[in-house]
Symmetry: C3
Subunit: 157 residues, 3 copies
């Protein structure tokens, strides 16, 4: 660890590989997983074993990844369908004033670079999200989705 890795209260498995320029806190990373530069992983996130989290990606509170998951570069997860900076009174939103929606990414899912994942959905086992896709609903196991909004272009083989 050096000063370019900001890591607070992270449960790390064996042989985890962490790049510089990362911000990880209060999360859990499984064995042999790799994390690229310019990645943030927030509180409560669980990342399985032998995952690859590529550069510039963001995993927010509410996200869980199974084992063998590939996250491309610049992938953005979300956890709030109606994000706001302030409440009705014009004060900064507190953590108690909004609904966190969870996202489940099952084993061996691959998410292409630049994809955006809306909250409250499940990406089924070994499904593939195309690069640049904006995923607004759950994806069945083994399917491939592309586009904005993402549509299924291939069912499970």
């Amino acid at each position: 660890m050096n000063d370019l890795k900001k890591i607070r209260n992270v449960k790390l498995g064996k042989k985890v590989w962490l790049s510089d320029f990362i911000n990880l806190y209060d999360c859990e990373i499984g064995d042999e997983t790799k994390v690229g530069p310019f990645v943030e992983i927030q509180r409560g996130v669980k990342v399985g074993s032998r995952c690859k989290i590529s550069s510039h990606s963001f995993l927010c509170e509410g996200v869980s990844l199974g084992n063998g998951v590939f996250i491309g570069h610049g992938v953005m997860f979300t956890n709030d369908r109606n994000p706001k900076a302030t409440n009705e009174d014009g004060e900064l939103m507190s953590p108690y004033e909004w609904l966190l929606e969870t996202t489940v990414v099952e084993d061996r899912v691959s998410i292409g670079s630049g994809a955006v994942i809306l909250p409250g959905i499940t990406l089924g086992e070994a499904c593939m999200v195309g690069a640049g896709a904006v995923v607004t609903r759950s994806v069945p196991a083994g399917a491939t989705v592309v586009g904005n909004p993402a549509r299924i272009v291939k069912e499970r083989e």
Copy 2:
């Protein structure tokens, strides 16, 4: 301030919260605003009070944010519809050789993660830009837009 915050000539309001891994210069940030990691804010940008600028976002010269604005993760603003690296003579473009177009983000706007905002437009008060949207024209106050290019899916309530 530490060495992981690159901050030059920034006018900071009260109780501003700044993450590590940021690059801010010659700009202005209002009271109680929060700035996440991996954010760049350029010369001349004005950010209002109680805004939230999430990780991986980029605010270029020419952008101004009102108060209570939410900027999601990985949001890219732009200020040049026809960007080039070099001029007709093959030399690097100088700051005097291109037209900067401004972008106005009014109070309480929310911009979802991964959105891209084309220049020369206004995002009207309390409008909502969906995650992954590519916004090519101004958005009326209170409206919701999604898609690439972004279309209105809900008018002001």
Copy 3:
């Protein structure tokens, strides 16, 4: 150079300008090129002279840029159409188990912010990729493409 620039085995031309918060290795950067913050450039990449690589962009192995190329902010290149974290045996993929596809970016191409470039294609001389475009096939010289997937909206003038 300071500690916020991670640079290993990079062949730098004259008057190259490098921002802080960058991760460059085993690559080549031509004269007078500028590289913004939060950029990663990987092994084997060749960047020509007088290019501009803007913040938050990612250039992967297999990419080559000509001279006078403009890369906007948050642009993601790719080199694998079928990325996976693990192989059939559930082990981490080794570099020998997948096919790297190359991407050629010719002289004076401009790529707008937030664009995603699929692998195995050529972006022809002086073509323009619109902000937020997802480019899935080669672009002819001088053409303009926009959208997801990117379509030609203007031929060479």
